[in-house]
Symmetry: C2
Subunit: 295 residues, 2 copies
Protein backbone atom coordinates (compact mmCIF):
# COMPACT_ATOMS: atom_id res chain seq x y z
CA UNK A 1 0.00 0.00 0.00
CA UNK A 2 1.24 3.44 -0.96
CA UNK A 3 0.87 6.13 1.70
CA UNK A 4 1.17 9.84 0.94
CA UNK A 5 1.49 12.40 3.68
CA UNK A 6 0.31 15.89 2.66
CA UNK A 7 3.02 18.47 2.14
CA UNK A 8 0.79 20.96 4.00
CA UNK A 9 0.98 18.98 7.22
CA UNK A 10 1.19 20.43 10.69
CA UNK A 11 0.27 23.75 12.21
CA UNK A 12 -0.46 26.72 9.99
CA UNK A 13 1.52 29.91 10.73
CA UNK A 14 -1.35 31.37 12.81
CA UNK A 15 -1.57 28.31 15.04
CA UNK A 16 2.23 28.09 15.31
CA UNK A 17 2.26 31.68 16.49
CA UNK A 18 -0.49 31.04 19.08
CA UNK A 19 1.40 27.99 20.38
CA UNK A 20 4.60 30.01 20.69
CA UNK A 21 2.74 32.65 22.70
CA UNK A 22 1.28 29.94 24.94
CA UNK A 23 4.78 28.59 25.67
CA UNK A 24 5.90 32.09 26.59
CA UNK A 25 3.00 32.60 28.97
CA UNK A 26 3.58 29.18 30.53
CA UNK A 27 7.25 30.11 30.97
CA UNK A 28 6.34 32.55 33.77
CA UNK A 29 5.50 30.33 36.78
CA UNK A 30 4.75 33.37 38.94
CA UNK A 31 1.54 34.25 37.12
CA UNK A 32 -1.54 32.13 36.43
CA UNK A 33 -1.91 31.39 32.71
CA UNK A 34 -5.32 31.13 31.05
CA UNK A 35 -6.66 30.85 27.58
CA UNK A 36 -10.06 32.26 26.77
CA UNK A 37 -11.74 29.13 25.43
CA UNK A 38 -9.66 26.28 23.96
CA UNK A 39 -6.66 27.98 22.33
CA UNK A 40 -7.02 26.02 19.08
CA UNK A 41 -9.56 23.49 17.84
CA UNK A 42 -7.53 20.44 18.77
CA UNK A 43 -8.40 18.73 22.08
CA UNK A 44 -5.15 16.73 22.31
CA UNK A 45 -2.99 19.83 21.96
CA UNK A 46 -5.18 21.70 24.42
CA UNK A 47 -4.94 18.85 26.97
CA UNK A 48 -1.16 18.85 26.67
CA UNK A 49 -1.09 22.60 27.40
CA UNK A 50 -3.45 22.05 30.34
CA UNK A 51 -1.11 19.43 31.75
CA UNK A 52 1.62 22.07 31.61
CA UNK A 53 -0.51 24.52 33.58
CA UNK A 54 -2.64 26.45 31.12
CA UNK A 55 -6.17 26.85 32.41
CA UNK A 56 -9.13 27.28 30.11
CA UNK A 57 -11.35 30.19 30.98
CA UNK A 58 -15.03 29.62 30.14
CA UNK A 59 -16.33 31.84 27.35
CA UNK A 60 -19.12 33.12 29.59
CA UNK A 61 -17.81 36.10 31.60
CA UNK A 62 -20.37 35.29 34.31
CA UNK A 63 -18.00 32.53 35.42
CA UNK A 64 -14.83 34.62 35.47
CA UNK A 65 -15.06 35.95 39.03
CA UNK A 66 -14.37 32.51 40.46
CA UNK A 67 -11.29 31.96 38.30
CA UNK A 68 -9.11 34.56 40.05
CA UNK A 69 -7.95 36.62 37.08
CA UNK A 70 -6.19 39.48 38.89
CA UNK A 71 -2.49 39.38 37.97
CA UNK A 72 -2.99 36.56 35.49
CA UNK A 73 -2.22 36.41 31.81
CA UNK A 74 -5.00 35.40 29.42
CA UNK A 75 -4.25 34.28 25.91
CA UNK A 76 -6.72 35.37 23.23
CA UNK A 77 -6.94 32.37 20.94
CA UNK A 78 -6.21 32.40 17.20
CA UNK A 79 -9.90 32.90 16.36
CA UNK A 80 -9.92 36.29 18.06
CA UNK A 81 -12.26 37.70 20.66
CA UNK A 82 -15.27 39.99 20.92
CA UNK A 83 -13.85 43.39 21.98
CA UNK A 84 -16.10 43.76 25.01
CA UNK A 85 -14.74 40.50 26.45
CA UNK A 86 -11.15 41.72 26.08
CA UNK A 87 -12.15 44.92 27.90
CA UNK A 88 -13.82 42.91 30.63
CA UNK A 89 -10.63 40.88 31.13
CA UNK A 90 -8.58 44.04 31.49
CA UNK A 91 -11.12 45.42 33.99
CA UNK A 92 -10.64 42.29 36.06
CA UNK A 93 -6.89 42.82 36.25
CA UNK A 94 -5.82 40.28 33.67
CA UNK A 95 -3.17 41.00 31.06
CA UNK A 96 -4.34 39.79 27.67
CA UNK A 97 -1.87 38.19 25.27
CA UNK A 98 -3.32 38.51 21.81
CA UNK A 99 -2.75 35.37 19.75
CA UNK A 100 -5.43 36.27 17.22
CA UNK A 101 -4.25 34.98 13.85
CA UNK A 102 -3.11 37.95 11.68
CA UNK A 103 -5.34 36.72 8.85
CA UNK A 104 -8.34 36.73 11.20
CA UNK A 105 -7.37 40.22 12.33
CA UNK A 106 -7.49 41.34 8.70
CA UNK A 107 -10.99 39.90 8.40
CA UNK A 108 -12.07 41.82 11.53
CA UNK A 109 -10.64 45.03 10.08
CA UNK A 110 -12.31 44.40 6.72
CA UNK A 111 -15.63 43.94 8.52
CA UNK A 112 -15.20 47.17 10.48
CA UNK A 113 -14.15 49.06 7.36
CA UNK A 114 -17.18 47.89 5.39
CA UNK A 115 -19.64 48.69 8.16
CA UNK A 116 -17.90 52.04 8.72
CA UNK A 117 -18.31 52.85 5.02
CA UNK A 118 -22.03 52.16 5.27
CA UNK A 119 -22.17 48.71 3.71
CA UNK A 120 -24.70 46.17 4.93
CA UNK A 121 -22.31 43.36 5.91
CA UNK A 122 -22.56 39.70 4.92
CA UNK A 123 -20.18 37.17 6.46
CA UNK A 124 -19.92 33.89 4.61
CA UNK A 125 -19.28 31.22 7.24
CA UNK A 126 -20.66 29.46 10.31
CA UNK A 127 -22.48 31.68 12.78
CA UNK A 128 -21.41 29.58 15.78
CA UNK A 129 -17.71 29.58 14.95
CA UNK A 130 -15.66 31.63 17.46
CA UNK A 131 -13.93 33.49 14.64
CA UNK A 132 -17.29 34.61 13.24
CA UNK A 133 -18.51 35.46 16.74
CA UNK A 134 -15.41 37.63 17.27
CA UNK A 135 -15.90 39.36 13.90
CA UNK A 136 -19.55 39.99 14.78
CA UNK A 137 -18.39 41.49 18.08
CA UNK A 138 -16.19 43.94 16.17
CA UNK A 139 -19.18 45.30 14.24
CA UNK A 140 -21.71 45.32 17.09
CA UNK A 141 -23.33 42.24 15.55
CA UNK A 142 -24.47 44.43 12.65
CA UNK A 143 -24.05 41.71 9.99
CA UNK A 144 -25.77 38.73 8.43
CA UNK A 145 -23.96 35.38 8.54
CA UNK A 146 -24.75 33.03 5.67
CA UNK A 147 -23.50 29.59 4.75
CA UNK A 148 -26.06 28.55 2.16
CA UNK A 149 -27.47 30.29 -0.86
CA UNK A 150 -31.05 29.85 0.30
CA UNK A 151 -30.28 31.96 3.38
CA UNK A 152 -29.56 34.86 1.05
CA UNK A 153 -32.95 34.57 -0.52
CA UNK A 154 -34.64 34.30 2.88
CA UNK A 155 -32.78 37.32 4.15
CA UNK A 156 -33.64 39.35 1.05
CA UNK A 157 -37.31 38.45 1.25
CA UNK A 158 -37.41 39.40 4.93
CA UNK A 159 -36.02 42.89 4.23
CA UNK A 160 -38.41 45.72 4.80
CA UNK A 161 -36.08 48.61 4.15
CA UNK A 162 -34.07 49.23 0.99
CA UNK A 163 -30.49 47.97 1.17
CA UNK A 164 -28.31 50.05 -1.11
CA UNK A 165 -24.77 48.99 -0.22
CA UNK A 166 -23.70 45.39 0.32
CA UNK A 167 -20.33 44.38 1.73
CA UNK A 168 -19.10 40.79 1.75
CA UNK A 169 -16.34 39.00 3.61
CA UNK A 170 -15.81 35.38 4.63
CA UNK A 171 -14.71 33.40 7.63
CA UNK A 172 -11.02 32.90 6.82
CA UNK A 173 -11.21 29.10 6.69
CA UNK A 174 -14.21 28.78 4.38
CA UNK A 175 -13.40 26.75 1.28
CA UNK A 176 -13.12 28.44 -2.08
CA UNK A 177 -16.09 26.58 -3.55
CA UNK A 178 -18.45 27.68 -0.77
CA UNK A 179 -17.16 31.23 -1.04
CA UNK A 180 -17.55 31.35 -4.82
CA UNK A 181 -20.95 29.74 -4.88
CA UNK A 182 -22.29 32.17 -2.28
CA UNK A 183 -20.90 35.22 -4.05
CA UNK A 184 -22.36 33.85 -7.28
CA UNK A 185 -25.61 33.17 -5.41
CA UNK A 186 -25.89 36.86 -4.57
CA UNK A 187 -26.17 37.52 -8.28
CA UNK A 188 -28.12 34.50 -9.48
CA UNK A 189 -30.41 33.59 -6.58
CA UNK A 190 -31.54 37.08 -5.74
CA UNK A 191 -31.88 38.67 -9.18
CA UNK A 192 -33.52 41.78 -7.76
CA UNK A 193 -30.45 42.45 -5.69
CA UNK A 194 -28.20 43.59 -8.50
CA UNK A 195 -30.88 46.03 -9.60
CA UNK A 196 -31.65 47.42 -6.13
CA UNK A 197 -28.15 47.57 -4.76
CA UNK A 198 -26.10 50.57 -5.75
CA UNK A 199 -22.75 49.30 -4.47
CA UNK A 200 -21.38 45.87 -3.70
CA UNK A 201 -17.91 45.50 -2.20
CA UNK A 202 -16.28 42.18 -1.61
CA UNK A 203 -13.13 41.81 0.44
CA UNK A 204 -11.46 38.47 0.02
CA UNK A 205 -10.56 37.42 3.56
CA UNK A 206 -9.82 33.78 2.77
CA UNK A 207 -6.66 32.43 4.37
CA UNK A 208 -4.02 31.53 1.77
CA UNK A 209 -2.58 28.72 3.89
CA UNK A 210 -6.05 27.20 4.20
CA UNK A 211 -6.62 27.54 0.44
CA UNK A 212 -3.31 25.81 -0.30
CA UNK A 213 -4.19 23.01 2.12
CA UNK A 214 -7.60 22.63 0.47
CA UNK A 215 -6.11 22.59 -3.04
CA UNK A 216 -3.63 19.90 -2.00
CA UNK A 217 -6.37 17.82 -0.34
CA UNK A 218 -8.45 18.01 -3.53
CA UNK A 219 -5.51 16.91 -5.62
CA UNK A 220 -4.71 14.03 -3.24
CA UNK A 221 -8.36 12.95 -3.14
CA UNK A 222 -8.43 12.77 -6.93
CA UNK A 223 -5.40 10.46 -7.06
CA UNK A 224 -5.93 8.22 -3.99
CA UNK A 225 -8.49 5.55 -3.03
CA UNK A 226 -8.82 6.67 0.56
CA UNK A 227 -8.10 9.94 2.36
CA UNK A 228 -7.65 10.11 6.11
CA UNK A 229 -8.42 13.63 7.32
CA UNK A 230 -6.93 14.29 10.74
CA UNK A 231 -8.13 17.10 12.97
CA UNK A 232 -10.30 18.29 15.83
CA UNK A 233 -14.00 17.54 15.62
CA UNK A 234 -14.69 21.25 16.23
CA UNK A 235 -12.20 22.37 13.62
CA UNK A 236 -13.95 24.18 10.82
CA UNK A 237 -11.05 24.00 8.39
CA UNK A 238 -10.66 20.25 9.00
CA UNK A 239 -14.33 19.72 8.26
CA UNK A 240 -13.96 21.68 5.00
CA UNK A 241 -11.05 19.38 4.05
CA UNK A 242 -13.26 16.35 4.61
CA UNK A 243 -16.01 17.82 2.46
CA UNK A 244 -13.60 18.64 -0.35
CA UNK A 245 -12.21 15.08 -0.40
CA UNK A 246 -15.68 13.62 -0.38
CA UNK A 247 -16.83 15.96 -3.17
CA UNK A 248 -13.83 14.77 -5.21
CA UNK A 249 -15.24 11.26 -4.93
CA UNK A 250 -12.61 9.75 -2.66
CA UNK A 251 -13.52 7.45 0.21
CA UNK A 252 -12.88 9.78 3.14
CA UNK A 253 -12.59 9.24 6.86
CA UNK A 254 -12.05 11.92 9.50
CA UNK A 255 -10.36 11.15 12.83
CA UNK A 256 -8.93 13.13 15.71
CA UNK A 257 -6.31 10.54 16.68
CA UNK A 258 -4.67 7.38 15.36
CA UNK A 259 -6.63 5.39 17.94
CA UNK A 260 -9.90 6.20 16.17
CA UNK A 261 -8.86 4.81 12.84
CA UNK A 262 -10.69 1.66 11.82
CA UNK A 263 -8.04 -0.28 9.88
CA UNK A 264 -10.66 -2.52 8.28
CA UNK A 265 -11.28 0.45 5.96
CA UNK A 266 -7.97 -0.33 4.33
CA UNK A 267 -9.18 -3.53 2.71
CA UNK A 268 -8.76 -3.37 -1.04
CA UNK A 269 -7.18 0.07 -0.83
CA UNK A 270 -3.89 0.56 -2.62
CA UNK A 271 -3.28 4.31 -2.28
CA UNK A 272 -3.97 6.27 0.91
CA UNK A 273 -3.40 9.97 1.56
CA UNK A 274 -3.18 11.58 5.00
CA UNK A 275 -4.09 15.23 5.34
CA UNK A 276 -4.47 17.39 8.45
CA UNK A 277 -6.19 20.57 9.56
CA UNK A 278 -4.42 23.79 10.47
CA UNK A 279 -4.45 22.92 14.17
CA UNK A 280 -3.35 19.31 13.80
CA UNK A 281 0.26 18.70 14.89
CA UNK A 282 2.45 17.06 12.25
CA UNK A 283 3.26 14.22 14.69
CA UNK A 284 -0.41 13.18 14.69
CA UNK A 285 -0.19 12.63 10.93
CA UNK A 286 3.07 10.74 11.31
CA UNK A 287 1.42 8.42 13.86
CA UNK A 288 -1.38 7.72 11.40
CA UNK A 289 1.17 7.00 8.70
CA UNK A 290 2.97 4.50 10.93
CA UNK A 291 -0.32 2.84 11.81
CA UNK A 292 -1.30 2.57 8.15
CA UNK A 293 2.11 1.18 7.21
CA UNK A 294 1.92 -1.48 9.92
CA UNK A 295 -1.76 -2.31 9.33
CA UNK B 1 -55.64 44.85 -34.55
CA UNK B 2 -54.82 45.97 -31.06
CA UNK B 3 -52.04 48.54 -30.75
CA UNK B 4 -50.30 49.32 -27.46
CA UNK B 5 -48.07 52.34 -27.04
CA UNK B 6 -45.47 51.96 -24.28
CA UNK B 7 -46.05 54.00 -21.17
CA UNK B 8 -42.33 54.83 -21.17
CA UNK B 9 -42.58 56.69 -24.44
CA UNK B 10 -40.70 59.84 -25.33
CA UNK B 11 -37.52 61.44 -24.07
CA UNK B 12 -35.95 60.27 -20.82
CA UNK B 13 -35.24 63.01 -18.23
CA UNK B 14 -31.58 63.27 -19.33
CA UNK B 15 -32.50 63.82 -22.97
CA UNK B 16 -35.28 66.23 -22.02
CA UNK B 17 -32.77 68.25 -20.04
CA UNK B 18 -30.29 68.30 -22.95
CA UNK B 19 -33.04 69.44 -25.33
CA UNK B 20 -34.07 72.22 -22.95
CA UNK B 21 -30.47 73.42 -22.81
CA UNK B 22 -30.27 73.34 -26.59
CA UNK B 23 -33.39 75.55 -26.85
CA UNK B 24 -31.80 77.99 -24.44
CA UNK B 25 -28.58 78.19 -26.40
CA UNK B 26 -30.52 78.60 -29.65
CA UNK B 27 -32.47 81.40 -27.99
CA UNK B 28 -29.43 83.70 -28.12
CA UNK B 29 -29.15 84.72 -31.81
CA UNK B 30 -26.04 86.84 -31.10
CA UNK B 31 -23.79 83.86 -30.44
CA UNK B 32 -23.06 80.84 -32.63
CA UNK B 33 -24.46 77.63 -31.11
CA UNK B 34 -22.70 74.30 -31.48
CA UNK B 35 -23.07 70.84 -30.12
CA UNK B 36 -20.03 68.66 -29.75
CA UNK B 37 -21.14 65.69 -31.85
CA UNK B 38 -24.84 64.96 -32.40
CA UNK B 39 -26.55 66.07 -29.19
CA UNK B 40 -28.55 62.84 -28.86
CA UNK B 41 -28.63 59.62 -30.87
CA UNK B 42 -31.61 60.57 -32.98
CA UNK B 43 -30.89 61.95 -36.46
CA UNK B 44 -34.36 63.44 -36.99
CA UNK B 45 -34.20 65.45 -33.77
CA UNK B 46 -30.66 66.55 -34.57
CA UNK B 47 -31.68 67.66 -38.10
CA UNK B 48 -34.52 69.72 -36.65
CA UNK B 49 -32.09 71.46 -34.27
CA UNK B 50 -29.71 72.06 -37.17
CA UNK B 51 -32.49 73.70 -39.14
CA UNK B 52 -32.96 76.03 -36.20
CA UNK B 53 -29.29 77.01 -36.24
CA UNK B 54 -27.41 74.49 -34.09
CA UNK B 55 -24.17 73.48 -35.74
CA UNK B 56 -22.54 70.12 -35.07
CA UNK B 57 -18.90 70.34 -34.17
CA UNK B 58 -16.85 67.37 -35.33
CA UNK B 59 -15.48 65.21 -32.53
CA UNK B 60 -11.95 65.59 -33.83
CA UNK B 61 -10.47 68.81 -32.35
CA UNK B 62 -8.16 69.02 -35.37
CA UNK B 63 -11.15 70.39 -37.28
CA UNK B 64 -12.21 72.97 -34.71
CA UNK B 65 -10.05 75.90 -35.87
CA UNK B 66 -12.12 76.28 -39.02
CA UNK B 67 -15.43 76.35 -37.13
CA UNK B 68 -14.84 79.75 -35.49
CA UNK B 69 -15.47 78.89 -31.85
CA UNK B 70 -14.44 82.19 -30.22
CA UNK B 71 -17.48 83.69 -28.51
CA UNK B 72 -19.65 80.67 -29.31
CA UNK B 73 -21.56 78.36 -26.99
CA UNK B 74 -20.93 74.62 -27.29
CA UNK B 75 -23.34 72.10 -25.81
CA UNK B 76 -21.78 69.01 -24.28
CA UNK B 77 -24.20 66.24 -25.22
CA UNK B 78 -25.97 63.94 -22.78
CA UNK B 79 -23.26 61.25 -23.14
CA UNK B 80 -20.63 63.55 -21.64
CA UNK B 81 -17.22 64.52 -22.90
CA UNK B 82 -13.58 63.63 -22.36
CA UNK B 83 -12.23 66.33 -20.02
CA UNK B 84 -9.34 67.33 -22.29
CA UNK B 85 -11.80 68.18 -25.07
CA UNK B 86 -13.79 70.44 -22.73
CA UNK B 87 -10.56 72.21 -21.77
CA UNK B 88 -9.61 72.58 -25.41
CA UNK B 89 -12.97 74.21 -26.15
CA UNK B 90 -12.45 76.70 -23.33
CA UNK B 91 -8.95 77.46 -24.63
CA UNK B 92 -10.47 78.30 -27.99
CA UNK B 93 -12.82 80.84 -26.45
CA UNK B 94 -16.01 78.78 -26.44
CA UNK B 95 -18.39 78.68 -23.51
CA UNK B 96 -19.39 75.10 -22.81
CA UNK B 97 -22.95 74.30 -21.76
CA UNK B 98 -22.87 70.98 -19.98
CA UNK B 99 -25.85 68.82 -20.91
CA UNK B 100 -24.22 65.62 -19.66
CA UNK B 101 -26.96 63.42 -18.23
CA UNK B 102 -26.76 63.43 -14.39
CA UNK B 103 -26.81 59.61 -14.40
CA UNK B 104 -23.83 59.57 -16.77
CA UNK B 105 -22.09 62.08 -14.54
CA UNK B 106 -22.55 59.68 -11.62
CA UNK B 107 -20.95 56.91 -13.68
CA UNK B 108 -17.99 59.20 -14.46
CA UNK B 109 -17.60 59.97 -10.76
CA UNK B 110 -17.88 56.29 -9.80
CA UNK B 111 -15.13 55.49 -12.32
CA UNK B 112 -12.85 58.21 -10.94
CA UNK B 113 -13.54 57.12 -7.36
CA UNK B 114 -12.70 53.48 -8.08
CA UNK B 115 -9.49 54.32 -9.94
CA UNK B 116 -8.57 56.80 -7.20
CA UNK B 117 -9.05 54.08 -4.59
CA UNK B 118 -6.65 51.82 -6.49
CA UNK B 119 -9.15 49.52 -8.17
CA UNK B 120 -8.40 48.12 -11.62
CA UNK B 121 -11.48 49.39 -13.47
CA UNK B 122 -13.80 47.38 -15.69
CA UNK B 123 -16.54 49.13 -17.64
CA UNK B 124 -19.32 46.89 -18.90
CA UNK B 125 -20.47 48.39 -22.19
CA UNK B 126 -19.49 49.28 -25.75
CA UNK B 127 -16.02 50.70 -26.16
CA UNK B 128 -17.03 52.91 -29.12
CA UNK B 129 -20.02 54.51 -27.39
CA UNK B 130 -19.45 58.23 -26.68
CA UNK B 131 -20.54 57.76 -23.04
CA UNK B 132 -17.90 55.09 -22.53
CA UNK B 133 -15.31 57.19 -24.35
CA UNK B 134 -16.10 60.11 -22.03
CA UNK B 135 -15.84 57.87 -18.94
CA UNK B 136 -12.51 56.55 -20.20
CA UNK B 137 -11.34 60.13 -20.64
CA UNK B 138 -12.13 60.81 -16.99
CA UNK B 139 -9.80 58.03 -15.84
CA UNK B 140 -6.98 58.64 -18.34
CA UNK B 141 -8.16 55.58 -20.26
CA UNK B 142 -6.99 53.42 -17.33
CA UNK B 143 -9.82 50.85 -17.65
CA UNK B 144 -10.86 47.75 -19.53
CA UNK B 145 -14.14 47.86 -21.47
CA UNK B 146 -15.93 44.52 -21.79
CA UNK B 147 -19.19 43.52 -23.39
CA UNK B 148 -18.85 39.74 -23.50
CA UNK B 149 -17.80 37.22 -20.91
CA UNK B 150 -15.06 35.78 -23.10
CA UNK B 151 -13.32 39.17 -23.08
CA UNK B 152 -12.91 38.80 -19.34
CA UNK B 153 -11.13 35.52 -19.77
CA UNK B 154 -8.92 36.92 -22.51
CA UNK B 155 -8.03 39.91 -20.41
CA UNK B 156 -7.24 37.76 -17.39
CA UNK B 157 -5.05 35.43 -19.42
CA UNK B 158 -3.17 38.37 -20.90
CA UNK B 159 -2.34 39.79 -17.45
CA UNK B 160 1.31 39.68 -16.51
CA UNK B 161 1.08 41.51 -13.20
CA UNK B 162 -1.09 40.59 -10.22
CA UNK B 163 -4.37 42.47 -10.06
CA UNK B 164 -5.49 42.72 -6.45
CA UNK B 165 -8.40 45.15 -6.58
CA UNK B 166 -11.13 45.06 -9.19
CA UNK B 167 -13.70 47.81 -9.64
CA UNK B 168 -16.74 47.43 -11.87
CA UNK B 169 -19.19 49.90 -13.34
CA UNK B 170 -21.41 49.83 -16.43
CA UNK B 171 -22.39 52.10 -19.27
CA UNK B 172 -25.64 53.55 -17.93
CA UNK B 173 -27.81 52.15 -20.75
CA UNK B 174 -26.59 48.55 -20.63
CA UNK B 175 -29.44 46.11 -20.06
CA UNK B 176 -29.77 44.32 -16.76
CA UNK B 177 -29.20 40.87 -18.27
CA UNK B 178 -25.90 41.86 -19.86
CA UNK B 179 -24.82 43.52 -16.64
CA UNK B 180 -25.74 40.54 -14.49
CA UNK B 181 -24.24 37.97 -16.78
CA UNK B 182 -20.93 39.85 -16.95
CA UNK B 183 -20.72 40.30 -13.18
CA UNK B 184 -21.56 36.63 -12.81
CA UNK B 185 -18.98 35.84 -15.50
CA UNK B 186 -16.28 37.47 -13.36
CA UNK B 187 -16.93 34.76 -10.79
CA UNK B 188 -17.72 31.77 -12.98
CA UNK B 189 -15.61 32.26 -16.11
CA UNK B 190 -12.41 33.27 -14.41
CA UNK B 191 -12.38 31.04 -11.35
CA UNK B 192 -8.86 32.08 -10.42
CA UNK B 193 -10.00 35.66 -10.11
CA UNK B 194 -11.89 35.29 -6.87
CA UNK B 195 -8.86 33.64 -5.33
CA UNK B 196 -6.30 36.17 -6.58
CA UNK B 197 -8.31 39.32 -6.10
CA UNK B 198 -8.36 40.75 -2.61
CA UNK B 199 -11.12 43.29 -3.19
CA UNK B 200 -13.88 43.62 -5.71
CA UNK B 201 -16.14 46.68 -5.70
CA UNK B 202 -19.10 47.07 -7.94
CA UNK B 203 -20.94 50.34 -8.34
CA UNK B 204 -24.30 49.97 -10.01
CA UNK B 205 -24.38 52.81 -12.55
CA UNK B 206 -27.35 51.55 -14.54
CA UNK B 207 -29.92 54.19 -15.41
CA UNK B 208 -33.26 53.57 -13.68
CA UNK B 209 -35.27 55.12 -16.47
CA UNK B 210 -33.54 52.80 -18.96
CA UNK B 211 -34.20 49.79 -16.71
CA UNK B 212 -37.89 50.68 -16.43
CA UNK B 213 -38.11 51.08 -20.22
CA UNK B 214 -36.42 47.69 -20.68
CA UNK B 215 -38.70 46.00 -18.16
CA UNK B 216 -41.75 47.41 -19.91
CA UNK B 217 -40.45 46.35 -23.34
CA UNK B 218 -39.92 42.82 -22.03
CA UNK B 219 -43.42 42.70 -20.64
CA UNK B 220 -44.92 44.02 -23.88
CA UNK B 221 -42.87 41.60 -25.97
CA UNK B 222 -44.23 38.69 -23.93
CA UNK B 223 -47.84 39.69 -24.54
CA UNK B 224 -47.75 40.93 -28.16
CA UNK B 225 -47.16 39.30 -31.53
CA UNK B 226 -45.05 42.09 -32.94
CA UNK B 227 -43.01 44.86 -31.32
CA UNK B 228 -41.97 47.95 -33.24
CA UNK B 229 -38.90 49.48 -31.62
CA UNK B 230 -38.42 53.10 -32.62
CA UNK B 231 -35.11 54.90 -32.23
CA UNK B 232 -31.87 56.09 -33.77
CA UNK B 233 -29.72 53.49 -35.45
CA UNK B 234 -26.76 54.67 -33.30
CA UNK B 235 -28.79 54.58 -30.11
CA UNK B 236 -27.37 52.03 -27.71
CA UNK B 237 -30.42 51.90 -25.45
CA UNK B 238 -32.75 51.44 -28.45
CA UNK B 239 -30.65 48.52 -29.66
CA UNK B 240 -30.85 46.94 -26.16
CA UNK B 241 -34.65 47.28 -26.33
CA UNK B 242 -34.66 45.44 -29.66
CA UNK B 243 -32.51 42.65 -28.22
CA UNK B 244 -34.71 42.27 -25.15
CA UNK B 245 -37.87 41.97 -27.29
CA UNK B 246 -36.19 39.46 -29.57
CA UNK B 247 -34.92 37.43 -26.58
CA UNK B 248 -38.49 37.35 -25.27
CA UNK B 249 -39.49 35.61 -28.49
CA UNK B 250 -41.53 38.41 -30.05
CA UNK B 251 -41.28 39.27 -33.72
CA UNK B 252 -39.36 42.53 -33.50
CA UNK B 253 -38.63 45.28 -35.97
CA UNK B 254 -36.54 48.39 -35.36
CA UNK B 255 -37.09 51.60 -37.32
CA UNK B 256 -35.99 55.21 -37.08
CA UNK B 257 -39.12 56.67 -38.67
CA UNK B 258 -42.63 55.70 -39.68
CA UNK B 259 -41.54 55.81 -43.33
CA UNK B 260 -39.27 52.80 -42.78
CA UNK B 261 -41.99 50.54 -41.51
CA UNK B 262 -42.88 47.71 -43.86
CA UNK B 263 -46.61 47.27 -43.27
CA UNK B 264 -46.59 43.82 -44.86
CA UNK B 265 -45.15 42.66 -41.52
CA UNK B 266 -48.58 43.20 -40.03
CA UNK B 267 -50.14 40.27 -41.86
CA UNK B 268 -51.63 37.82 -39.41
CA UNK B 269 -50.65 40.01 -36.47
CA UNK B 270 -53.35 40.80 -33.92
CA UNK B 271 -51.42 42.57 -31.14
CA UNK B 272 -48.69 45.12 -31.80
CA UNK B 273 -46.68 47.09 -29.26
CA UNK B 274 -44.72 50.25 -30.00
CA UNK B 275 -41.74 51.11 -27.80
CA UNK B 276 -39.14 53.83 -28.15
CA UNK B 277 -35.59 54.62 -27.04
CA UNK B 278 -34.67 57.37 -24.60
CA UNK B 279 -33.92 59.81 -27.40
CA UNK B 280 -37.00 59.06 -29.50
CA UNK B 281 -39.63 61.84 -29.38
CA UNK B 282 -43.06 60.71 -28.31
CA UNK B 283 -44.52 62.10 -31.56
CA UNK B 284 -42.51 59.60 -33.57
CA UNK B 285 -44.24 56.75 -31.69
CA UNK B 286 -47.63 58.41 -32.22
CA UNK B 287 -46.94 58.57 -35.97
CA UNK B 288 -46.18 54.87 -35.98
CA UNK B 289 -49.35 54.17 -34.09
CA UNK B 290 -51.40 56.12 -36.63
CA UNK B 291 -49.72 54.29 -39.49
CA UNK B 292 -50.43 50.91 -37.87
CA UNK B 293 -54.04 51.85 -37.19
CA UNK B 294 -54.57 52.89 -40.79
CA UNK B 295 -52.58 50.01 -42.31
Amino acid sequence: MEITLARYAGFCPGVRRAMRMAQEVLGDPERPAFSLGPIIHNPQVVEELERRGLRILPEDPGEWEAAGLAGSRVIIRSHGVRPHLAERLADMGAETVDATCPTVKKAQKAAMRLVGEGYHLFIIGNREHPEVQAILGHVNRDAVVIKETRELKEWWEGQTRMVRKIGIIAQTTVDLLTFRSLVEGLITEVPEMIREVSEMKLINTLCRNTLARQAEALQLALSHDLVVVVGGRNSSNTEFLRRICETAGARTVKVETAGELDTSLLEGVSRVAVVGGASTPRERLEEIRRLLASG
